[in-house]
Amino acid sequence: MFTIEQHYIDEMVAHARQEAPLECCGVLGGKGGRVLRLYQATNAEHSRYRYNIDSQELFRINRECEENGWQFLAIYHSHPDGAAYPSPTDIRLAALWPGSLYFIVSLSSPEKPGVHAFRIRDGEVTEEELRIV
């Protein structure tokens, strides 16, 4: 169970819509399981099928979180036409940050965006229940 405030969900959906048809991406930093800041990042791939957080932005976000004693609690990205479920690429590259939760925003039904979160460890995907407050 992961607790997250509604406005962070809204911000992720708004970011996904703003970047569509390209994928958007970002990081939720926080402490003790509580999200304290959402970092919108630049998708260096500028792609409808790939994301990769701009390396200089990643450096800055990582440093700011370290300085605050925060962790990358969650990483988010959008699937502009795909389902809110990790793709094979998502699963493969999630091995790089195994401790983070992965949020995926699906815009495949534009009026009804889907937001789901997953733990991805050793190629195993488990959906995390969300408590939105």
Partner: protein, 368 residues
């Protein structure tokens, strides 16, 4: 050189939970070797089988990504701070429908899934939805070029259908950009068509061209051709030019800095010397051939395949079925892309105009 290496949370399991470790080396490459001897598991994460930095590992020296420095050869100084941070990356990838639809091109080793994604992310502008633009746009759409802009201000005439295969008989009287959009959607729903129903002029050319990666000229008049050439050069976009006349066609590719249409043809033929294309007969298969070559040149540029026609003018004689090539090069005297250019913005192109715009057939309508 002794440096400090920052280790982020996901890698600390292999450094005994330490956030910083010491390292040595004259370069980033030497440092990675040093780390590998002392932290074998970390070393394996920071180098692939060939000893290169893996695609999804970012290495920074004093806050700068080494990709923007000298990569593994980036020199180190005493006291430098090096950071190794895994990328945050992924993506929805191609759907199973897309893998099937494009399977015949994905199986080309130089294309593959990565090439297909590049095509789907590409944005190409086709100026003219007539005899050249139709086959060009159809093959680009079928190949999965994800965004296709189509510029045309005309309505379809019955006499267009003999060569303009983007359109169908019931479309007569409709705006060509509309029927083009419908035809492309039936060929490939992956393609986002952006219709530009307007006259392409010096006032709007730069703004339109700026939204795309590559521009295909599919017009039959010199005013628009020179305008396209200048707009593409000023916007830094590759321009593929095609033209047909009677039984002959021409194609070339102009990449900014490597010559332009003005280097090859400093001025259009004098008014009256060449009859207006709309007065000259044409078999539709000729613009078919030339438009398809234009599409192939676009696909090559997007995928980085082979040698583009940049630096060559290809001339096709349909009657003898012969292709000839003329070498072209940047002219240092060129007023647009030469050493001392005099054209810095789009000017007046009406003076170049000696023919109707593509799609107006003689006897149907007055020239634009």
């Amino acid at each position: 050189m002794a440096v400090t290496v920052y280790i982020p949370a996901p890698f600390r399991r292999v450094t005994g939970n330490r956030s910083y470790v010491d390292g040595h080396g004259q370069t980033v490459g030497e440092l990675l070797e040093d780390l590998r001897t002392r932290y074998p598991a970390l070393g394996d994460m920071l180098q692939d089988e060939t000893g290169e930095i893996p695609a999804h590992i970012n290495i920074y020296v004093n806050n700068q990504d080494v990709h923007s420095l000298q990569g593994k050869a980036t020199p180190l100084n005493d006291g430098d701070e090096v950071a190794v941070i895994p990328a945050i990356a992924g993506g929805q990838g191609l759907s199973s429908d897309q893998l099937q639809r494009y399977s015949r091109q994905i199986m080309i080793p130089q294309v593959g899934e990565a090439g297909q994604r590049t095509l789907l992310d590409a944005k190409v502008l086709v100026v003219g939805a007539g005899g050249l633009g139709s086959p060009a746009a159809i093959y680009l759409a079928a190949a999965g070029v994800g965004t296709l802009g189509i510029v045309d201000n005309d309505a379809l005439e019955l006499s267009n259908l003999q060569r303009q295969i983007l359109h169908h008989t019931p479309d007569v009287g409709r705006p060509k950009v509309e029927s083009a959009q419908e035809t492309i959607a039936r060929y490939n729903p992956d393609v986002r068509v952006i219709p530009h129903r307007l006259r392409f002029t010096a006032a709007n050319a730069l703004e339109i061209v700026a939204q795309y990666d590559i521009v295909v000229g599919a017009v039959d008049n010199f005013a628009t051709r020179y305008l396209l050439n200048d707009a593409c050069y000023l916007a830094g976009k590759p321009y593929i030019d095609g033209g047909v006349f009677l039984f002959e066609g021409q194609v070339s590719v102009f990449i900014p800095g490597r010559g332009c249409y003005r280097c090859l043809f400093p001025a259009p033929p004098p008014t009256g010397v060449v009859p207006s294309p709309s007065q000259v007969g044409l078999l539709g298969a000729l613009p078919g051939v030339i438009g398809v070559i234009e599409a192939f040149e676009v696909l090559k540029l997007i995928l980085g395949l082979g040698e583009s026609l940049c630096g060559r003018l290809l001339i096709f004689d349909a009657l003898t079925m012969e292709f000839r090539q003329v070498r072209t090069r940047r002219d240092p005297q060129c007023p647009l892309c030469g050493d001392a250019p005099t054209i810095h913005e789009l000017g007046d192109y009406e003076a170049f105009s000696l023919s109707a715009l593509a799609g107006h057939d003689a006897g149907q309508k007055e020239a634009v």
